[in-house]
C-alpha cells in the first residue's frame, strides 16, 4: 500500500491523498468525498482506514477535502455550493482517472459526503458505483412502529440506569445551542430521480446505514420501502449496522464497516473487469454476428446473479 499527496483543481486548491496498492496497478478508482466539516481522513480516521483496506482489493482511493474544508482552499468560482461541490468532485474524478489511467471509478462518502457523491455520480458516466454511508433516508410506516418499540426500550434502559444520554457537565453555551451545522438531507424527489438514473446506467449503489440514523432508518427492508416505486434489482445493496454509531468511535466498529465496503467494492472491481473484458472481446457487427453474439450472450448469462 502506498500513499501520496496531491493538489488538484483549476487553482490547485483541492488537497487529497491517493492510497493504492504498491505492487500492482489499481483496477478501480474510488473517490471519497469529505463529510461535513471533517477533513479527508474521515471521522476517527474512517476514510484513511477504508482507503488502506481497499488498496488490498486493487482499488486506488482518492480522499480529498472539499473547498474550504481541511487543507483545501475555497474555489473562487462564483456559483452556489452545490455547483461548486459538483465541480470539485468532477475535478477529483478527472484527476484520479487521468493520473492512474482508470476509466471506471466509484464515488462515496459519509453523510453529506455520501449525498455529494450521489449527485456527482448522476452527472458523470465514468462513475460505476457509489458507496453511501448514512445518506438520506425517509420514514416509512415500517419505520414508525419499530421506532416506537425502540423508544420504549430506550426508556427502560434509562430507568434501569443502564443508559445515559450524553449530557453536558454544564448547561450548553449559546454557541453550542446554536448547532448551526445541522445538515439537511436530500429530499425524496431528488434522491429518487438520481437513483433511477443510476439504475438505468447499471451503476452499483452500496448503501450502508448505521444505528446513528435511527431517527430515519431502522430496518433493512426500509431501503426498498423508501423507494417503493423503483425496481432496485441486484445493483443496489445494503449493509445495515444497527448497533454502530454515526461516527464509529471504536476501532472494531470501523473495521466492520470497512470490511463490508471492501467486500462490496471488490465485487464491483470484478464486475468492471468482466465488463471491460466483454467490451474487448465483443465482435464487430457482420454476417457471422448471429453466431458470435450467441457466445457473447452465454458469457453474459454466466455473469448473472449477485
Amino acid at each position: 500500500m502506498k500513499e501520496s499527496c496531491c493538489q488538484f483543481g483549476p487553482q490547485r486548491q483541492l488537497a487529497g491523498i491517493i492510497t493504492e496498492p504498491s505492487e500492482r496497478a489499481a483496477r478501480l478508482g474510488f473517490v471519497l468525498v469529505s463529510a461535513g466539516i471533517t477533513p479527508k481522513h474521515g471521522p476517527f480516521r474512517l476514510y484513511a482506514e477504508l482507503a488502506r483496506r481497499l488498496a488490498e482489493e486493487d482499488i486506488a482511493t482518492l480522499r480529498f477535502d472539499l473547498g474550504g474544508i481541511g487543507d483545501s482552499a475555497q474555489s473562487s468560482v462564483q456559483a452556489p455550493l452545490k455547483q461548486r461541490t459538483e465541480l470539485e468532485i468532477r475535478a477529483a474524478v478527472d484527476y484520479l482517472a487521468e493520473q492512474r489511467g482508470l476509466d471506471a471509478v466509484a464515488l462515496g462518502g459519509l453523510c453529506s459526503g455520501a449525498e455529494d457523491a450521489f449527485r456527482g455520480a448522476a452527472v458523470d458516466d465514468r462513475v460505476r458505483a457509489v458507496v453511501l454511508i448514512d445518506p438520506f433516508a425517509y420514514r416509512t410506516p415500517g419505520w414508525a412502529w419499530r421506532h416506537a418499540l425502540y423508544r420504549l426500550g430506550r426508556r427502560t434502559l434509562r430507568a434501569l440506569g443502564l443508559y445515559s444520554p450524553p449530557i453536558a457537565s454544564k448547561p450548553p453555551s449559546d454557541e453550542q445551542r446554536a448547532k448551526l451545522v445541522a445538515y439537511k438531507y436530500m429530499d425524496r424527489a431528488e434522491s429518487t430521480r438520481i437513483l433511477e438514473a443510476l439504475l438505468r446506467r447499471r451503476v452499483s449503489a452500496h448503501f450502508v446505514y448505521t444505528g446513528g440514523m435511527r431517527d430515519l432508518f431502522n430496518h433493512e427492508r426500509q431501503l426498498h420501502a423508501m423507494f417503493g416505486g423503483l425496481e432496485l434489482g441486484s445493483s443496489v445493496t445494503l449493509d445495515y449496522f444497527p448497533h454502530l454509531d454515526h461516527t464509529q468511535l471504536l476501532a472494531d466498529d470501523r473495521h466492520a464497516l470497512t470490511e463490508a465496503i471492501a467486500r462490496r467494492l471488490s465485487e464491483t472491481v470484478r464486475i468492471e473487469a468482466r465488463t471491460r473484458a466483454n467490451r474487448e472481446t465483443a465482435p464487430p457487427q457482420g454476417p457471422s454476428s448471429a453466431f458470435r453474439s450467441a457466445s457473447a450472450g452465454s458469457v453474459r448469462g454466466s455473469r448473472s446473479g449477485p
Partner: protein, 1150 residues
Amino acid sequence: MPRIRGAAWGATARTLLAYGSAQMFLNVNGGTQATAALELPFDHYPTPGQQRRLKSHVLPSYDPLNDATPSTASEAEWPAVPSAAFAVLLARYTAQPTISLQFSRARGSLHHAVTVTRAHSVDLGRAATVGDVVGQTRSIFVALEDASEPELTASASGRDSAAGGTAAVICVDSGESAELARAVESGSPALLEAAGTDADLLLLVAPREAKIALIYDAHLFEQRTIERLARHFAALLPHFAAGSRALVWELPLLAEPELRWLESVCDGPMRPATGGLAHELFEQQAAQHPEAIAVRFLGQHLSYGELNRRANRLAHFLAQQAIAPGRPVVVCVEPGFEIVIALLGILKAGAAYVPLDPSYPAARMRAILDDTKPGLVITQRHLKAALDFAENRLLSLEDVETELAGEDAEQNPGTVMPPEQTAYIYYTSGTTGTPKGVAGNQRNLLHYVKSAERRYGLSRGDTMPAIARFSFSISMFELLSPLVVGGTSLILERAHILDPARMSRTLGEVTVFHAGPSLLKGLIAYIRRHRDYSAFAGVRHASSGGDMVPAELLEALQEIFANAEVFVIYGCSEIACMGATYPVPRDERIAKTYVGRPFENVILRVLDAANNALPPGVVGEIVFAGDGITLGYLNRPELTAEKFVTLGGRRFYRTGDRGRLSDDGWLEILGRSDFQTKIRGMRVELGEVEHALRRAPGVRDAVTVARDAPDQEKMLVAYVVLERENSDDSPADPETRLAAIRRHLVEQLPEYMIPARYVELDALPLNHNLKVDRRALPEPSDADLRAASRASVRVPETATARTLAAIWHKLLRVEQVGLDDNFFELGGHSLLAVRFSLEVEEALGVRLEGMDILREPLSVLAAICEAELGLQNPASTAHTSARSPADLAEIFHFGSGNSLYGVFRGSALKRPAQAVLICGPVGQEQVRARFVLSRLGRQLAAAGVPSLSFDYFGCGDSLGDGSNADPNRWQTDIREAYDELRRRSNATRIAAVGVRLGALLLSQIASDLALAKVVLWDPICDGARYRAELGELQRAYLRSLVHLGFWRRSRARARENELLGVRYSDAGVRKLKGLSISPLLAERAAELRWLTTRARAPDTAALGRLGPNSRCRGEALDFDCGWRDLSCLEDVIPDVSISSTLARMVREGP
C-alpha cells in the same frame, strides 16, 4: 604561558572539530547567553545545508614585545589588542554599539587539548575610547584564562537562532611549534576547520607567532569584501597598538585611495549651468521657435509664442500688484493650460510658485495658506468659492487676462533676480500635524530642470505627459524640463491619468515619461492584456521613482517600451528631486533595483551616525550636497537646522533613507530610519496622521503604523484609544465612533493619508521607556488584512447584496464587506451566523442554510436570496477573484519513511525572519481545533510568516494504523517537522505553537530545538490526568450508545488502551501517564506564552509555576472550548479570536 606542543595541535584540532558543528550556548555567570546577530556585509546569503568553504586572509600584525611593557605583559595582553580593533571594525560596519562575539582560547597539555569559549558583548558607546575597548577585551581574555573547565552546554542549533551573522575571536596558543605559524600563513584546512566553529567571520590570533588572520566562508563573502575589511582593520590597528585615547567612532576607517575612489563615484560631474535661469531658457526657446508647440491639453495646444505672451501678461500683472521678490504666489488649479502659464508667469515676475491641490480638504488648504502667506492666489473661476482667502487677492487667470491687454504686457519683463531668490515652495507631509513647505531658489530650479534634461537628452522632438499631481515636486520635471529645450508638455485630466485604457493610448503618443510604481503596475497590467507593444515604439525614455521600484516592473518597462532607455530616479523635494539615477541595463538580468549615481552638480554620500563616510557594502544614511540643496523648510528653522547640516564646508541634506553603495559605486536604498513612509508613492509622515487622529472626536490617543498588505503595497493602520466617558455628542457604539473619526480625517487629510484600517485598543502598549511600543501593536484582524490585500474589494452592488453586507457589517464589526468575503472568515461564528440568518429572514423573508453561510461567500448568499425572491440577476457570471498567496497551502509527506503528513504555508519572502511550527493536539481534539489552527496558518502567512502543521504518526492523514501509538514517536515527529520547516522556510528563527497534548510533547523536547518562542494553547500539563479524562469521556460516550442495542453495545469493548480513537501501546500509555509539562520549557525557549480558555485551576497552577516573568506569561480568553465536554466531542471549536490571539503572541516582540 601554558603551551600546546606542536604534536598536540592535532588533538586540539580534533577537539575543536568535535564542537565545531554546534553553536554553543554558554553559562556565563549562571545565565544562558546567545551571541546576538550582526549585520555583517554578506555578499551572499547562506543556504541551509550548504558546506562551508573556509578561507583565511592574513592580516598585518604587530609586535607585542615592542608595545607591551614587561609589567603588564601577560597572556591576555596580546590578543586583546587585535580583538579590540576587530570589535571596533565590526561596530563601524554594522552601526551596532554593542558587538557580541564568541571568544575562544585553545590550550592544554600534551595529552588533551581544551578549548574554552565564552560569549561576550563589547560595548562601544559614543564616548568609548580605544583604551576602553582594549580594557574590555583584555578582561575577557583574563577571564578566559582563569576558567579552568570549559562549561559547554552544547545545543545544536546552527545558524537559526541568529538573524544576520555571527563573529568570533579565537586565540590559539601553540607553544614553540612553527607548524602553527605555517598553518596560519598557508591557511591549512585542518586549522581552518578546527578554528571555524560556526561563526561567519572569525579572527584568529596566534600570539606566539604574532600572526592574525581572518577566517571566513567563501560562500558568503567575496574576496574583495574581505580585502576591504582587512584594509580597514589595518587602518585601525595601529591606533589600538599605540593605546591612543581617540574615540573609536572617530577613527578614520577609509584610507586616502578609498576616499578618492568614493569621490570619483559619488560626486556627480561638476558642470556650471550657463545660459540663464529656467524661465529665461524658456524665453530663448520662445524667441527661436515661436510656432513650436509648447503645451497640449484636450486636443488643443499653445505654441511657445502664445504661451510666452500669456505668461508675460501674468508677470506684468504680478509686478503691478507689487508682489515682492521671492514672495509666494499660490496656484490652485485643475489640469489645463493655466498651470503652465501661472508657473512661468510667476517665475518671470520673480515671485515663488506654490502649487496647491484643489482636491485637498479645506482645513489642509487653510493650513498651507496660513503657513505660506502668499501675496496672491491664482485659481480658476469655478474653484474660487472653495478657497478661503481674501477676496481681493484671489484671482482667476481669466480675470487677469481680461484685465491686462496690450502689446507691452506681452513682452518679457526681463526682471533681474539673483539665483538665490526663492522660486518655488512644495508642501510635503509634516511630522507635527501640519504640512511643511520646502522652499527652493532659482539655482535649485535651474539645476532641477537642466540636470534631468542633460542626463536624459531631452530635446525639441520630445513630448512628455504631466502625470504627477502639480502639488508634488516631481511635477516640475514634467512641466518645465521639456519647455527649456523646445519640447512639448502634455497636460492630462486626472480621470484620464487614472484610466489605464486612455493612459496607455497616451503613452503611445509621447516620447518621454515618468511615473510612480503604483500607477505603473496598473498600466502595465492593462497594456499586457490589451495593447500591441509596437504602439510604444516612439517612447525613448521611461523612468520611475518616488518609491521602491520592483525589478519586475523595470523588466516590464523594458519589454513593453522596447526602444526606451529605462531609468530609476531617486531624490526628494529637499534636494530638488534629481539626486541619483540608475540606467537599467538591458542585457543583464536585473538583480537589484539600484538608484544609481548622482546627477551632475550633485554630491552623494553614505554616512554613519558619526558622519564618517562609509565604504561600499556598509549601510548608512544617504546624504546629498550640491546645487540642488534647497533653502530649507518655510517657518521651521529648527527642523531645517536638523536636516540640513554642514559637513566639511559643504551643506548636506540628510534624507533619512538608509542605503549602501555597491562595489561599482551604485547606490541602493534599503529603507527608512524614521516614521516617514510612502503610500502609493506619496510621502506620508506618520506623525501628521497621528496628529489628526488625536484631534478627532472621542479619541484619547492614537498611533499610526504602515503595514504591508500581501500585494506588496503599503497601507496605514490606525490604533485608537477612545474616550471612556460617553459624552452627549459621542455615541457609545464603537463602529459609529470609528466612522466619525474617519469622517473627521477626511476633512483634514488628503485621501492617501487616511488610514485604511482602524483598530480600537484599551490602551497603547508601552515599552520600558514609557514610549509607545510599536512592535507590540496587534495586527489588524486578518479579515481587514485580507480585504486590503485584494487588488480591489468587490463592493456589493445589488440591493440584496447590500442588505446582507449591512447585516454583516453590524454583526461582525468589519470596516468593509466585499462580495468575496465569507462570514466565518471575517470572524463570525455559529451564534452570530444564527443571528444573521434570523435577520435575513426578517429583512428579506429568505431562510439561509447553515452550511451555506459556513462555506459561501457573500455574492453567492446574495444570489441565493435573489433566486428565492425571483430576482435572479442574469448578469452574474463566473468570476474569479484574486487569490491571495495566503490561501494556498502545500501538502506533502515528509519525515523518515515519508510517514508524516504536513501542510506548509509559505511566504513570499526569500528569508523570512520567523517561521512557526504548529504542534497540534492528538485524536479528536485535532479535528476540533482544525478550523482555528488553519486560520492561524493563514493569518501568519498573510503576515509573511511561514508555518508548518502536521499529523503525528498514526493520526490524521499520516501513515500508521493508529495502533501502538507512542508519545516518544510523536516527539520524534515534532523533531522531524522542525527540520522540515527549517528546510522549507529558510527562516532565521523558528517559533512553535503547542496545542493540548502537542504542548506537552513539545515541552519535552523544546530544549533540543532552538526555538525563539513557544506559544501554548490550553496545554495539557499532566499526562496521567489527561489519560484519565480521556478514559472517562470514552466510557461516558460508550454508555450513551447502549441504546443502539443493549447486548451488542454492552459487550463491545474498546481495544486495549484505546482512548477516543487513538490506540496506545502499553509502553505508550505508561509513557503518556509519566509526562508532565517540563519547567525547563520556561528556561530553554527564548520566550514562552500561553493562552488558556476557561481551563480548570490545577492546569493553570502548573503553568503558573512557569511564569510570569519577563519572558513567560499567559493570557486567558473568556470562552469554553469544552475539551472535556462529551457533548462537544464532535463540535468544531469556533474561532472567537483564538487564532488572532495566537498569531499576535507569535509575532509580538518581548
